[in-house]
């Protein structure tokens, strides 16, 4: 492992842009890894929490980051952003965990109860948001996953396409159809 640049100080690392952080991480820079982890954690946790209970979501994020570390040297900026790669791994981990969770019906019911009592309901008291969430919950799983990658993980259509292994154009069309279905669900509520 060769170090091709002068290592930044710890307080400088957090100000680096993503490609520099990834390059340092690939060289084994521990501080770069910490910054990457803290940076990625909120998005990964938000996405995982949409499908899994809190403990399983934490496990899924930990497993995802372990896989990221193990495979960081295989990552290359070839039309795939780091976040696409990250969420591409996460969705596989979440899918596996979700299947395991689905086998435990009692656990699944508890997860539903937790989500129904999410802090957002109490904090926002937003009837409109609750309607959107209800309508969203009735969408097909594939629609929900795509829209979660867009609005929860914050990925662009291109990044979602890379994470799902699809073309950006087909993701845009799928998103449009998913939103159309969501719109119909909302109209049905009115």
């Amino acid at each position: 492992m060769t170090v091709s640049r002068a290592r930044p100080r710890a307080d400088e690392t957090k100000n680096l842009d993503l490609p520099e952080l990834v390059a340092l991480a690939q060289e084994g820079d521990h501080e770069a890894w910490r910054v990457l982890y803290r940076r990625a954690y909120p998005g990964l946790m938000a996405f995982a929490s949409r499908r899994l209970d809190h403990d399983r979501a934490r496990d899924a994020v930990a497993e995802t980051m372990a896989r990221v570390v193990a495979n960081i040297n295989k990552f290359a900026w070839k039309g795939v952003s780091f976040d696409s790669w990250l969420f591409g791994i996460l969705r596989h981990v979440v899918a596996d965990a979700h299947r395991a969770q689905a086998r435990d019906q009692r656990r699944d019911e508890r997860r539903t109860a937790v989500s129904q009592l999410s802090p957002l309901d109490h904090v926002l008291h937003d009837e409109e948001a609750a309607k959107v969430r209800d309508a969203f919950a009735r969408l097909p799983s594939s629609d929900r996953e795509l829209l979660e990658l867009r609005v929860v993980a914050g990925l662009s259509c291109e990044e979602v396409a890379a994470a799902l292994g699809k073309r950006a154009g087909s993701v845009r069309m799928a998103q449009s159809r998913a939103l159309q279905r969501l719109r119909r669900q909302l109209e049905g509520q009115e």
């Binding site: 492992m1 084994g28 521990h30 890894w33 910490r34 982890y37 803290r38 954690y41 909120p42 946790m45 938000a46 929490s49 949409r50 934490r58 994020v61 930990a62 980051m65 372990a66 570390v69 193990a70 040297n73 999410s118 802090p119 957002l120 937003d126 409109e128 948001a129 609750a130 959107v132 969430r133 969203f136 829209l147 979660e148 867009r150 609005v151 929860v152 998103q175 449009s176 939103l179 969501l182 719109r183 909302l186 109209e187 009115e190």
Partner: protein, 290 residues
Amino acid sequence: MNYGDGQLLDDLRVALATPPARPDPIELAAFDRIVAEWRQRPAPVADEPKGRFRAIEKVHRPRVVAAGVVITTLGLGTGVAAAAGAPVTRGIREVAHEIGLPVESPAVVDAKDAMSRLRDALARSDDAQLRAARDQLRSELGDLGASDRASLERRVDDLLQQADARLIRDSSGPAPAPTADPTAAGPQHSARSPGGTPTGDTSSGPGEHGSIGAGDGAPHHDDTEPSSSTDTNGSRDGHSRDFQGDGAGSGAGIGPPPTTVTGHHEPSVDDSHGRGRDSRDATTTTTAGE
């Protein structure tokens, strides 16, 4: 509620928003350990094959290399020998035949030699030599496998019938007793029985091509033509074509056996024409499969 995709996405973003999560110290410590362990890992090996081929190659690499060496050696050996006009040694022939190279088995070569000697004897008027050649051929046939036997059956049957007929006609005493030789009860007679069918073993041999029927009823002398001419009737190899002819002539009983044999000539070296192609296919498949 009627608005565009962008507005709907924004509403969805708000509706699905959660307070930003942060890793707790335990998670951070666990992640630090993962990174530390990763940093201490051995350097990755370059040029590893990817995907499922990695496992396949690791398991089979020694065998592939060994097979490549053997095939190259034998191929060069047989090729050089053929180019130099020298006969392929029995040892090389045995190994080459075993691994599927386009070389006839030693037993087939021996049988063909015996057939040539019997033809020579038929052309002369020496009954003792003819009897010895006939018995030798029957002995060699006993060493053949079912598929090899099937490939030679018709030609052998004709030769033996001619030899028997000549010996009966010329002999003042009783007819020779072919059953005295244990190999005399070989397939050549059973296959010639009227309306009979070839031995069951032939179904697994090259005779499977016989169902095409291109060679059915083909004149017997076709059997001795060079392999290149056999391709015109659609048969993939000379052996299967031979069997087609046999099946029509002996099994189905179409046409009488020829009464004279002239100009017969067995290919002296590996007339492995078509079989070679099949064998090469098999070799290639095996190698690729590994």
